[in-house]
Symmetry: C2
Subunit: 654 residues, 2 copies
């Protein structure tokens, strides 16, 4: 049997394992992408592991998430990222150059390449036949250092597209239809591969919309073939020489299948506050609208802005609507100016914002409480807009434009006008002046990292001692989320480059004495948890910060997958009760004693803890490789050893 | 002797007093302007005084200061302001429509009219022959209610302009020359009137630059004649019918005189951190630059952006420079798009921001600590950019553009190019769709104020009781500033529409138990101060918030002028020691008893306070009108009575 597109790319990059669903495969990584919100920590990790020069073909540090610069912390993060990119050999995309995903696709995207990004929408590059996966920051750092990505082989889900989208219906409605059908977990453990005759009616940027929001389905990634349309797209960006055709073999198969007749779709909208609350726009028409936001990686193409401009051209937005438009990149911004669309938007009353993520991640242009905000962004989780009790809807640019005109949710087919026929330029603007290339190695080695007062190096974590006597500083219940371990929000986020500072916020919502008690307890401590410990957001800080405060071991009934990996990555031993009933035996304030950890861990999964006179049986689920990592103090320490700087770690051994 | 322009307008608006320097005159006010940072309190004051409909010809509520919308508070302020404008009969300029001063001048400016604005740069409208004065919020509220402005008659300072500006030198350099010569207090108590043959070489928007920054000289206002250039300007804005020529009489005189030969000027720059630290650019050339910011009411004209665009056109900004451009208004934004200048700016690497004040008032785009930021804005006070230890320089658009290209402070005359010759359109874009007109009275009366959870009505303050027995909750020393009474900054400012909340911050930097103790002390209290009590910023909140906490009387050695007026406006009795040595007799915790206040105040300036067995002689400096105001609980209470809503006040009498 032939191969589909995903299988072709995976097999070309396979360094370990076999392409059997559910088994671990190791994949060589060609490219990485980091953005500012996660990138500062990634750069601190590169520093901590003593990396000299990245090993990937292309790695790019973007600045797109936080551009508000309300005080010095934010611009100092930008300076730090620029210096780190220079030091380690990355490209640097200056603030204002645009959102990582569309910029990366246009300037660096290469069919058949693999990419990791410390951003969940990294998958967007699947639009041009890349295998692009969003992961945690340390995974990206390790890929830059040359490590493969180890991942459980996903199912390949073939979605066949037929037909052609009707007027007033666009790519966003396709992915909203997927979410309507399958919900936010529909893609978990799967790569979604789109194929079929309907593809010829979807541009590369249309495909970007669809691939991008595969993240909302929970998919590992999404992928499209690299076909003639991708060739055209790359040629329009001046990069046809890097095009390579990758099509599924005629006899390729898929593990799961589905199909969508594009001609049957109508304008859709996701109601507050989940991307999967999808209904036809007509069903909710008439609701008053306070704001529209057009932009983000979910509708980033020139087309997405031009269609809004042509719908609004010569008209005025409703008195009660704030029409916020942030062009995705400065190249698209240029094309909007050149084509007259920018003029149309300004004249119609749009508020034009600098190129970046903005409303997509709640960095500015938050709506009023309970007022409807229609956005072309990918997510509408509660509060993500920056407003606690928000009411955010997800829709196509056409549906957003219609609401801007009428001040109400409006099926755009009911606007009294013909569907605009866009004449987009054959050649896209190419302007790379804000993309600073990597420095030559010799120059790079001279670069000092520029650390503002809020940027602290990643703390060095010492190896796991052979025996530990640890007080239980906290005992918590089931389903503790990483938001409870380390809150997000405007109060805490500015300190994401500063582990000592951010550690003051650990567990404040659960027990605001924890951070102080932990810091006072120099000998380390343990936390006891219930089931599904560490669910939710993947943030590494929820491990790094408590580890900084002295957390050595977490004992729980069970762990959430990503948090478990993060604990191991940073040298915190995660142990599960062999008998969950033992959870009740331990109280906050008790002391647990562990012996022979360094010797036992690699050999057996059983660890016993001494509680007073009795012994409790615990188990870890570490592979021998992972056990070695924990013993050595975590993945950064292990990588530092590999980079020839073991001294950094040895010095701090206790 | 003939009259100068200022005298002509004052005499036309005189309702009391005579035009003799230093004596009080009452002036009829034709127009008002409020912006969002001060306007929410002004609207709450209109509500508190029970106003039905404004009495001015034109009043406009702008939203330009805070457009970041990092959470729901900011957009809810916007909704509140829109509803209040509708309720009371104001125009409403939507967020994104632009900075108040240039928009007001273009759309509502009328030669010969008087205007008050709750913004210190209101004086900019002097560019077209208006008498426009920046004042505190309550003064503006009272003008809307129909009250005259009472002000001490200023000196008229005639500044004769001759010659023509050389290439690479522009209007900003003229006002920087004034600041170089006269410093930040050079204009105090004066109206600056520009005249002379050099005027014919300065456009109305050039004059706006100069008039605007008269505020930095401390001037009451600045004024230019309404000449043929003003006619041309108004015609280009489609409003020639509202033009009226106002020229100084041939034999007009001035109280003070100065002159500037425009042809002798060179590019100037104000070093950190005062607008008066002015030196030639060439003297500081070569310093590394991190950022330029182009925009604000100090360089708001299309010309100011077009010249930057033409200097940058086809070139690229330096790798180390962030080039932040925020078009002043959406009309200018339109013209920038139409003329191709927006394209040039984007292509050269500028970050384009929505129309508003932004970097001028530290609402976004803050620089990194200690890094040089060259800005076309009017002020560079320490920390005003949002960064505590900032390094902000003030310069012309030409000088900012030169720095963007080279990454260093650069005399623009040393750029290797000819000075661009601009071809500006004869007709400016006129687009008033984001300026919502006042509602008809009947409709207006139906409007409910939209108050988000952070917007609280102005508390009602009861009349002054006849006798009071007040504990001294705080005793402070000399020169207490309003910043110490009520801090500014990102932590406190968001609560400016919420007196109960903001009152928690009163005196936190001096004694953080004060607010709690005051709130617990239901019967009211007094504060004892030294000399120059209440210096600094004019903020009304430094009176309203402690009054809300129960402050009834302040006893001090002396008071700063504006704070003294604010105390009277909000019904707090300001008393000065007859013998300053008595200051030492009173301690925190003592009790002061006052008798016969209501009867004595209007008749005599002497008040005695009983301290234990002894009596201390104190004096107020209230006029009979002001004494009546304090007795009635302040100016809002008095106005409420006048508006026929005395019940609102009587209800709360104690």
């Amino acid at each position: 049997m032939g191969q589909n597109v995903a299988q072709k790319i995976i097999s070309e990059h396979l360094v370990s394992g076999e392409m059997t669903y559910g088994t671990e495969v190791g994949l060589h990584i060609d490219q990485t992408l980091t953005q500012d919100a996660t990138g500062t920590m990634v750069m601190l990790e590169l520093e901590a592991m003593g990396l000299d020069r990245i090993a990937t073909d292309v790695s790019v540090q973007y600045v797109d998430h936080n551009l508000l610069q309300t005080d010095e912390k934010n611009p100092e993060d930008h300076l730090f990222l620029q210096s780190a990119a220079q030091r380690y050999g990355l490209w640097f995309s200056k603030p204002g150059n645009g959102v990582s995903h569309p910029v990366h696709q246009a300037r660096f995207g290469r069919p058949g390449a693999t990419m990791l990004g410390s951003d969940s929408h990294t998958c967007a590059a699947g639009a041009i036949g890349m295998l692009a996966i969003g992961v945690g920051g340390l995974e990206v750092a390790m890929a830059m250092a040359g490590d493969p990505l180890y991942v459980s082989m996903p199912e390949i889900w073939g979605v066949e597209l037929t037909g052609e989208l009707p007027d007033w219906v666009s790519a966003k409605d396709v992915i909203l239809e997927m979410l309507r059908r399958h919900g936010v977990n529909g893609g978990v453990g799967r790569i979604i591969e789109y194929h079929g005759p309907g593809l010829k009616n979807l541009s590369a940027m249309d495909r970007h919309v669809i691939a991008n929001m595969g993240a909302e389905l929970g998919a590992t990634t999404s992928i499209f073939p690299a076909d003639e349309e991708v060739r055209r797209y790359m040629a329009s960006n001046g990069r046809e020489d890097e095009f390579r055709e990758i099509l599924a073999d005629d006899d390729a198969g898929y593990d799961v299948t589905d199909s969508i007749d594009l001609s049957s779709l109508e304008p859709l909208i996701a109601k507050p506050s989940s991307p999967a609350n999808v209904v036809p726009v007509r069903e909710v028409a008439g609701e008053e609208v306070f704001q529209i936001v057009v932009g983000s990686s979910a509708n980033p193409g020139l087309r997405d802005f031009a269609i809004v401009a042509e719908i609004l051209a010569g008209r005025q937005t409703s008195d009660r609507v704030s029409a916020d438009v942030n062009p995705t990149s400065r190249e698209i911004f240029e094309d909007m100016a050149k084509g007259g669309w920018l003029f149309d938007l300004i004249s119609a009353g749009a508020r034009i914002h600098q190129s970046g993520c903005m409303g997509c991640i709640g960095m500015g242009q938050a709506p009023a409480t309970g007022r409807n905000s229609l956005r072309t962004v990918p997510r509408n989780f509660p509060g993500r807009s920056g407003t606690d009790e928000d009411s955010v809807w997800l829709c196509s640019p056409e549906t957003a434009a219609a609401a801007a005109l009428t001040g109400k949710i409006t099926d755009p087919r009911n606007l009294d006008m013909d569907y605009p026929q866009l004449a987009l330029p054959e050649k896209a603007s190419v302007n790379t002046a804000m993309l600073l290339p990597p420095l030559p190695v010799d120059e790079a080695r001279q670069v000092e990292l520029v650390k503002g007062s809020n940027i602290e190096s990643l703390p060095q974590f010492d190896p796991l001692p052979d025996s530990l006597e640890l007080p239980v500083l906290l005992k918590v219940g089931d389903n503790i989320s990483t938001d409870e371990i380390l809150p997000a929000g405007a109060r805490v986020l500015p300190y994401r480059s500063n582990i000592p500072k951010i550690s003051e916020f650990v567990y404040t919502q659960v027990d605001d004495t924890y951070a102080t008690r932990a810091a006072e307890n120099q000998g380390g401590h343990t936390i006891v948890g219930g089931g599904n410990y560490g669910q939710g957001s993947s943030r590494e800080h929820a491990v790094i910060a408590p580890r900084y405060l002295g957390l050595r071991i977490v004992v729980a009934k069970s762990f959430a997958r990503i948090h478990w990996q993060n604990l191991a990555n940073f040298g915190v031993l995660a142990l599960e009760f062999d008998d969950p009933a033992d959870y009740d035996k331990i109280q906050s304030g008790d002391t647990l004693k562990f012996e022979d950890l360094r010797t036992r861990l690699p050999d057996t999964d059983e660890v016993s803890a001494q509680l007073g006179d009795s012994s409790i049986t615990l188990r870890h689920r570490l592979s021998p490789r992972q056990a070695e990592m924990v013993v050595k103090g975590g993945r950064v320490a292990m990588a530092a050893e590999k980079q020839g700087e073991p001294g950094k770690v040895a010095d701090s051994m206790s």
